[in-house]
Symmetry: none
Subunit: 209 residues, 4 copies
């Protein structure tokens, strides 16, 4: 069952994803983690601390994985990012939904730190897209908007993809790669190494913290 702290984190991820931060009470968390609400406070600071910690860890992992992605050409880098993003959003659906949806629940002071991390991750996308545009590999006219549309599109996976459903994970990744490169315009789709990326995701998410 893991350590108590892990149980608390899991409970928080599940409930924040299901009911939202403000819709989840401290009592709900305690019950789900199998603790009294007073004991909960041995394993966390405030409720917001817990949320921040979940977001920080998740985004840090994403940034780590993103920076370890292979691929030299802009097409390969975008393809890798899409596959990384889609795989994590398909495999860690609850966690990624919390990160994507609960930004607004953060106090301005705490939001800053988390936004900084997210910006660092999105900068990886932006630079890959911008490079592709410079080189003429992509023809999209508004690269900033393209980034937003792509991320929105890929993040959606966390809301509907069923791991045990009809679409195998690798196929999902390939399809999204095709869609993404199509959206960027005139780009040929590089050969995908989904398996390699899956290994990367598993590695990064296996590491403690």
């Amino acid at each position: 069952m893991g350590t108590t702290e892990q149980r608390v984190r899991r409970a928080a991820i599940e409930l924040f994803a299901e009911r939202g931060f403000h819709g989840t009470g401290i009592r709900d968390l305690a019950e789900r983690a199998g603790l009294s609400s007073a004991t909960l406070y041995h394993y966390m600071g405030t409720k917001e601390d817990l949320l921040v910690s979940i977001m920080r860890e998740s985004l840090t992992r994403l940034v780590t994985a993103g920076e370890r992605l292979p691929g030299a050409s802009p097409q390969e880098r975008v393809a890798g990012l899409v596959q990384l993003h889609v795989l994590t959003h398909a495999v860690q659906q609850e966690e990624t939904r919390v990160v994507d949806d609960e930004m607004r629940s953060l106090t301005p002071a705490r939001r800053a730190e988390v936004v900084a991390l997210r910006d660092r991750y999105e900068a990886l996308w932006q630079s890959a897209i911008d490079d592709g545009c410079s080189v003429g590999a992509f023809t999209v006219s508004a690269p900033r908007v393209a980034r937003l549309a792509l991320l929105e599109m890929c993040s959606g996976v966390a809301r509907w993809y069923a791991p045990d459903g009809p679409i195998p994970l690798p196929e999902l990744a390939v399809r999204y790669t095709e869609m993404a490169l199509g959206l960027l315009g005139g780009a040929e789709v590089p050969p995908a190494d989904v398996a390699g990326i899956r290994v990367l995701v598993d590695t990064v998410w296996a590491s403690q913290n």
Copy 2:
């Protein structure tokens, strides 16, 4: 400034979009609407009634517009739906975000009604997609998944599109149409009548209730 009831609805849409249903208090609503919290209750039932009413109205308008869309071929119907969806999500960003994000905040009893409306709307998409597949106009292998991915992609517009930004609304609609038909596979993009759809959107949203 509109009737008091409209002020209440506007306040609710703004705050629910900004802070979420559970993050918005009755006093916040009252303050934003310029009323006392007791007076608020002259213009609404419970807080949940207000949310349901906003969602019902918005989804009803979307269904109405969706059913009035012209277009005979599957390609034309999908194109129309994409343009309708993108335009509404770009123009009515707050309202559509509330509809998309606050489903989980509904009590099971109330959720049923709203989900039924949403299902009715999504059925328009599904049938267009399915028809296209039957006829061989689309080659996508998993039509249900395609619907989900398309809706997710188009709904994202409400989260980032800036009406006063660099991309004009018609261009946005066209781009999304292209991306959507590309996603469905092997479909030629029919000529777009974005202006006509814009009129439809404005008409439906102008009507009271």
Copy 3:
């Protein structure tokens, strides 16, 4: 019984005096005032706001009365201050004890305002004492210390004086006047107009706010 707000203030004064600020719970206040603890919040801000407001009002009254005191010579001014202080501490025992004892319970931010008021009141004492020293009316060697000792001595009245006990109020005032002037050294005791000061006290405490 007075307005509800007055009942809340009375309850707070009684309980803060009896059990201290930290020893008094919001439920205690509500019960004493005959309200539910939620209703209490219609009539106050936070518990600290209530304490500050009580202190501010009491000190403001004391300053007002102190500034209206007649008396030209240092002896007369000190005598007036002693009588004012003793009378208020004998008549408003609970309120003055709250002011004297609960300073430490204030948050630094709120403490500043209250301390400023108290300093303004004590400055009246200090200047009378200092003037007496300059003129040679008092022979005390450490005037600052004399002020502290005098205030401490006179404030003590609020802790033990029984209004229905053997010592009449005017006699109490006279005795303290004698002790105070003796403490300051070599001062002749001016004729006391305790009745006049009693009228002043009653006037200032009768006024709303």
Copy 4:
């Protein structure tokens, strides 16, 4: 640094004096003593036990010292008590403030014991004063009130006296002796042996428990 138990007592005296009994949490005590809050309970019973024990020890010492005071005449006995009281309140400011201020924080059951001790101490004062009145050495009309006023006046020293300030301890004691005997009326001030009393205070407070 003394035994752990002494560290706990010192922490309690400091914090109870600074923030009051109800304003001091068990965690505050633990932190100040450099222990975990669980370990704290190896060195004390309940929080109230700790307070009672501090008060009992302090009052016991005061009674012990009071009973050992030399002096045959009522004037000498009062002078000795004043000097004892002033010296202890100047030297043990925090401890004496806790004793004086936190009586109200005690449960009725525990209060009885402590009040009994205090009464025993105050009885020393009362009998000296009463004897002086019987013999005609004092002319004060209300002896009980005189005791209260004297104690209040002398205890105030703990609230403002600065050991490193301009007034030397012996002078402070002499001044208070003069004030006290003046307050009692028509009493000549006996020669003071402040140094002797200081030795007594130091002896009694040096003894363990």
